[in-house]
């Protein structure tokens, strides 16, 4: 049976480097994806994810399994992401969030050149691509804390208790944060939401 996160971390604490490699393997993708959606830059997301693992490693000797491992891990990740966004704010202000959504290929996605070969129905692909860009754009426009709440809730599937510890707020504050975020997304994505309603 697979060892729990807490057991792996206790083994790391006892000096077992292999357990650290297992934790790395287990959480590299969720962390990189969470950070990528937070900071919108792949290279920076990977740097930050490495920093998270380094901090976990540094803290191994003081580790006490009183909270869920994921709460601790994503709390470090969220704090690093929020700090990084704050540091980049002036830089980011130059890139207007209201710039029109373009259909050029971004990192992490297929390049359009490859697409023509893989997708005989390129029109269909372009439609899907434009949809994804709209969705990403809507998430990007959320205030940082709301964005973190949505990402942790939707993609990491953490429970309210965990997310509120990560974001250092009460559960009721978190629920209102999420409600406001979904309200914004509902409005931002109105055309797609209406389509979805017809399909569903």
């Amino acid at each position: 049976m697979a060892r729990s996160d807490v057991q792996l971390m206790l083994d790391v604490k006892a000096g077992d480097e292999q357990s650290f490699a297992l934790l790395l393997h287990r959480y590299r993708s969720p962390l990189v994806n969470f950070l990528y959606r937070m900071v919108r830059n792949r290279e920076q997301a990977e740097d930050l994810a490495q920093e998270v693992f380094l901090r976990v490693y540094r803290a191994r000797e003081e580790y006490v399994p009183s909270a869920k491992f994921t709460t601790w891990l994503f709390r470090i990740a969220t704090n690093l992401a929020l700090n990084s966004l704050r540091d980049n704010r002036y830089q980011r202000m130059e890139i207007s969030l209201d710039a029109p959504v373009t259909v050029d290929a971004e990192d992490g996605e297929e390049k359009l050149l490859d697409v023509a070969e893989k997708h005989p129905n390129i029109e269909q692909h372009l439609v899907e691509d434009a949809r994804r860009k709209l969705i990403r754009h809507a998430i990007d426009k959320l205030p940082e804390k709301q964005r973190a709440a949505v990402l942790l809730h939707k993609y990491q599937e953490l429970d309210y208790g965990e997310i509120s510890k990560i974001l250092n707020c009460s559960e009721s504050a978190l629920k209102s944060l999420l409600f406001r975020a979904y309200e914004t997304l509902r409005v931002e994505l109105a055309p797609l939401v209406a389509q979805q309603g017809k399909v569903g």
């Binding site: 629920k175 509902r186 309603g197 569903g200």
Partner: protein, 161 residues
């Protein structure tokens, strides 16, 4: 039950996070409130739109970089290293000894009103060897002495990282 009270639970209802009682209460409200029912449908639509975002794959060098950064961390000396003879231990011991001797000669403490506690305190404050922070703080093995850590405190430290 009013709509404003329901609002906070709509998302929980949409992704099945409500307790049984709350869910039944919500279903009852939805059967009579078109506005909340519409909101539920829209939140469901948003939820499934969010599912459309693809995951990215960490670059192949990711693990290697993490392992390299971990390997570059300074190796902590064990508690037992305290007992192995080292030049730093010898240096600190001789500094302390010299300091003690110097204090013995030079700093004969004034005892104005015969309060020995106050005199001791005065002597401690005057003791020049304590001002030599450099020697004390750079004495690595002392950092490794096990410190009693309260579970809650340690958790706090972890959490706030």
């Amino acid at each position: 039950m009013s709509c404003s009270k329901m609002e906070g639970k709509i998302l929980g209802f949409v992704d099945w996070r409500l307790k049984e009682g709350e869910r039944l209460e919500m279903e009852k409200h939805l059967s009579t409130c078109a506005a909340c029912q519409l909101r539920v449908n829209q939140f469901r639509a948003v939820n499934s739109l969010l599912d459309e975002l693809p995951m990215i794959e960490p670059s192949p060098a990711f693990d290697i970089r993490v392992h390299a950064r971990v390997a570059a961390e300074p190796v902590k000396q064990s508690w037992w290293a305290w007992f192995t003879p080292s030049p730093r231990v010898a240096l600190l011991a001789s500094m302390l000894l010299l300091g003690a001797v110097w204090v013995g000669y030079e700093a004969t403490p004034p005892m104005p009103f015969g309060d020995p506690k106050e005199a001791d305190l005065q002597m401690m404050q005057d003791m020049p060897v304590l001002e030599d922070h450099d020697v004390i703080s750079s004495f690595e093995p002392l950092k490794d002495l096990p410190q009693p850590v309260q579970a809650d405190e340690a958790d706090q430290t972890n959490q706030t990282m």
